[in-house]
Amino acid sequence: MSVRILRQVGQRLLGLVFVLAAVVTSVFLMMQLVPGDPLVSETGGVTQEQLDRLRALYGLDQSVFDQFTAYVGNLFQGDLGRSFRTQEPVVDIIQQRIWSSLELAGAALLIVMFVGFPLAMFAAAATREGRHRRLEVGFLSVTSVLGATPNYLIATLLAFVFAVQFTLLPVGGSGSFEQLILPALAVAIAPTMSLARIVRLETLDVLSQDYVRTARSQRLPTHMIYLRHVFPNVLTAALTVGGLIFAEVIGGAVIVENVFARPGLGTALVDGVLSNNYPVVQGATLVLAVTVVVVNTAVDITLDVLDPRARTG
């Protein structure tokens, strides 16, 4: 590891701090910017006196600056406020729900990687230099149609086919493996297809490189050419879109959880918005946004470290 790479990583981490600060500020401002009084709709028919007491309880009677410092201070102590509804700490709500979301996003990511990558590499190998035109057209058609299908439609369709028509799989809830299958597929299908398209193009690009011709001139076995010479180059190229794919999966999980009524962060977020339960909305938004930002930074740092040029200088 050279000094240059350490400095680059340092810069990334500094950038991460800035973005996290911006995320925290935006999430804090969410409640401030809500049209009208955040408590009113929740507390219809209460007296002014009761309203004032609630305001004091949630700290809404203080100046914006004081509220902000209090918010950030609490944040560092792991306190995300309390639900307007149940008075339950938001942290507890998130802890109850985050595992279901992680399970869904994780399963979807596994599908994206372990289906998208091989699919793309096989498609690239079969269609390189204009071979198998029909296969290429088929691949492009299928991936573009499935890749453009919104996840909530895929979810609806999967629910209809597997749960309603054939009653093979459950359509709601979470906890069991069966309950994970349909939501994970619904989240994964579109990103899998977009990843497959990108990776196929990258693979074709790598296959046309001179160093692959060098490997072929050495008459190495096919699996060695693909696994040793092509794959590492494709992987780093694909990793550059890894952050975007991850965001697509997280966004997909938020929506699909609502289709299948899985108690996760996505349903917490949407239920929170629909019931004006802003502390929960803030908590869920914060956790999701921070996850995305941290993963993106991790991807960037991985790319920095993997770059062979990082070793020089």
């Binding site: 401002l29 060098t214 590492p232 180059n233 938004t285």
Partner: protein, 653 residues
């Protein structure tokens, strides 16, 4: 004419662009569906408005029937009528949000180009960060602070999309503003806003049109997602998304209530996506002819295209080209007979190599010279069995008497893997950037000779020493980018030497290197030739280099050998006017020998319309009538000297 096609013509698209758009069937179908959707959006509420509101509680939550093609909802309203009425809000919101996103995105993106220094960096970073968030999260954020409902959803989706547009715009605008004509305008006194508007926007208009046509579809989808989650239109307003929510709740009893809105969203998403794709394709002239851009490019860059020539249908005059084998001494290492390589083309098949016969003796260094496109590299690739798809190879290639075309894949791997090494032109591109030098050097002997890791390492160190790279042990763990150009080429040669091949093909091994390094690389090759009696083929466009370093020289022109003679004799005994022309302008020893082949008056044959007879006759000072009619055969002149020229071969049998 559809809205998108109109938009195209208004932004000044040329006739061929429109033609290309019309030619794509998916684009035309998409445009037709989009047009139909727009008609429904305009007329739907007028025609079906009342029916959509008609409640019939006795017929609530019914499935598909003749009266209600998609069934009824919980209040007994006809779902199909509601679906048609909802088209206006769904599509309208999508279009409005897309328009808003375009305007905001272009403003943000162009501002990045207008700013310099730190401000630009901050804007660009912000854009990058914003697009890294899931768009649904950004949309939810905005719909919370703006209140649930139509406005919140519209602005929320626009905000999440705008940064994608901003990213595209900033990239385009910054690169456009760096172009010469913008500088020129700046010098002429065009400043600030007018400059951006007039020069930059005009030049980024086309890519942004493509982006816009994609954004419309994605906006409709994301708006519907928000509505589906309950964050869009609030009752009594409804769009496809809210209808889908109700439908999914009732999916067990009346699936049509869910599938109807799902279908509507899907159909419009695909229709707009197809139009977007067709617009993108129409805007990119490279994609007009072939269905697949990449494949088209692959064909275009294949050597065939540079030498397109109608296949001579009426029996190619191929004279008896028997060669006394054994160039230098002993039996030949390589015999190539009647080698023909063709690529499919508009005319059926185009031959880039039109019958090449030669041999390389054991320990002999044979040079192949010719202008680019003469077929020298393709010949070498055929020997190495590396002719790119979809090239077809016919004729015979024998390595140590073994006919390569007769061998199975496995036998080929073993024979070529052990006996043949190829050193390619560009050492930077020809070494894998992600693998260490050690791995790349060792892999062939580990596979083909079954060497252990340790033994391969030891051999690699020795091979590196042989090409004058010291301290091989430490070099093995390094990556190609840590090597200089000369070192990389030596490493390439060391890689070839590892397996002690009997034939080494070096394709322009020194072209990318400076003169001093060139000489060193040639020394290395000579050294190997002397030490291991390795036969070599040295391909170059530099006659002087070939003359100095080879035993024998093959001169190629337009896919054929036109002369074959001893390197030492090339000054004195060359007879072909092409060779003579090359020799005539070779600088004397002591002068720079880095230059490419000299300028010969005239041009290489027009690929589309090759001259009849001798391909060189239009440029030939000695040409006689016969040359433009009859192609001269490659005839033996004795002593291994061959030439293909009517004039020079006068009297030769």
């Amino acid at each position: 004419m559809t809205a998108s096609a109109l938009r195209l013509s208004r932004t000044g698209m040329s006739a061929p662009v429109l033609r290309a758009f019309r030619r794509a069937p998916s684009g035309m179908i998409g445009a037709g569906v989009v047009a139909a959707i727009l008609v429904v959006a305009v007329l739907g509420p007028i025609v079906f408005g009342d029916e959509a509101q008609e409640r019939d509680l006795t017929n609530a939550s019914q499935g598909v029937s003749r009266e209600h093609l998609l069934g009824t909802d919980a209040l007994g309203r006809d779902i199909l009528a509601r679906l048609i009425v909802a088209t206006r809000l769904s599509i309208g919101l999508g279009l409005a949000s897309a328009a808003l996103a375009m305007v905001a995105g272009i403003l943000i993106g162009v501002s990045a180009a207008l700013f310099g220094g730190r401000a630009r960096v901050i804007v660009l970073r912000t854009i990058d960060t914003m697009i890294s968030f899931p768009s649904i999260l950004v949309a939810v954020f905005f719909s919370v602070i703006l209140g649930r409902g139509v406005t919140g959803a519209l602005i929320g989706v626009a905000a999440s999309t705008a940064f994608h547009i901003a990213r595209i715009t900033s990239t385009l605008a910054i690169s456009a503003s760096r172009r010469d004509y913008v500088d020129a305008a700046r010098v002429l006194g065009v400043r600030g806003r007018p400059l951006v508007v007039r020069y930059v926007l005009r030049n980024i208009g086309e890519p942004l049109t493509v982006a816009a046509s994609v954004v419309v579809g994605s906006s409709i989808v994301t708006i519907s997602a928000l509505s589906f989650l309950g964050l869009g239109p609030q009752a009594p307003q409804y769009d496809w998304g809210t209808m889908l929510t109700e439908g999914v709740k009732a999916i067990y009893r009346t699936p049509a209530a869910a599938l109807g809105p799902a279908g509507a969203i899907a159909i419009s998403a695909f229709a707009f996506a197809f139009v977007g794709e067709a617009v993108a394709r129409a805007m990119n002239p490279r994609l007009w002819t072939a269905p697949s851009g990449r494949a088209a490019r692959a064909v275009a860059t294949a050597p065939a295209a540079t030498l397109v020539e109608q296949a001579a249908a009426a029996g190619r005059a191929r004279p008896d080209e028997r060669v006394e084998v054994g160039g230098k001494d002993g039996p030949p290492a390589l015999e190539v007979t009647d080698l023909v390589i063709s690529f499919p083309s508009a005319q059926g098949a185009t031959e880039v190599i039109k019958g090449v016969t030669f041999s390389v003796g054991e320990g002999e260094i044979v040079g192949i010279v010719g202008e680019s496109g003469s077929g020298k590299t393709m010949t070498a690739l055929a020997v190495a069995q590396l002719v790119p798809y979809p090239g077809r190879v016919s004729g015979s290639v024998r390595l140590h008497g073994r006919e390569l075309t007769d061998l199975s894949r496995k036998e080929l791997d073993s024979l070529l893997g052990n006996d043949l090494a190829v050193v390619f032109q560009d050492p930077m591109a020809s070494l894998n950037p992600r693998l260490t030098i050690g791995t790349q050097l060792g892999q062939a002997v580990r596979v083909h000779k079954g060497f252990s890791r340790r033994r391969a390492r030891d051999l690699a160190v020795r091979s590196l020493a042989e090409v004058s790279i010291p301290a091989g042990e430490t070099q093995l763990g390094r990556y190609p980018n840590e090597f200089s150009g000369g070192m990389r080429q030596r490493a390439m040669i060391a890689m070839g030497v590892m397996k002690e091949p009997s034939l080494l093909i070096a394709d322009e091994p020194t072209t990318a290197l400076d003169v001093t390094i060139q000489a060193q690389i040639m020394d290395v090759l000579h050294d190997i030739n002397a030490r291991h009696r390795t036969s070599m083929i040295l391909i170059s466009h530099d006659l002087a280099l070939v003359k100095q370093n080879c035993h024998r020289v093959l001169v190629m022109y337009a896919g054929r050998i036109v002369e074959d003679l001893e390197a030492d004799a090339i000054r004195t005994q060359a007879v072909h006017p092409y060779t003579k022309a090359l020799v005539g302008t070779v600088p004397e020893i002591g002068q720079s020998r880095t230059g490419p082949l000299p300028d010969i008056p005239g041009e290489i044959p027009d690929p589309a319309d090759p001259p009849p007879g001798c391909p060189f006759h239009p440029r030939c000072p000695l040409a006689v009538d016969r040359c433009s009619v009859e192609r001269p055969p490659l005839l033996h002149r004795g002593g291994g000297h061959r030439a293909a020229c009517h004039v020079a071969n006068e009297g030769v049998e």
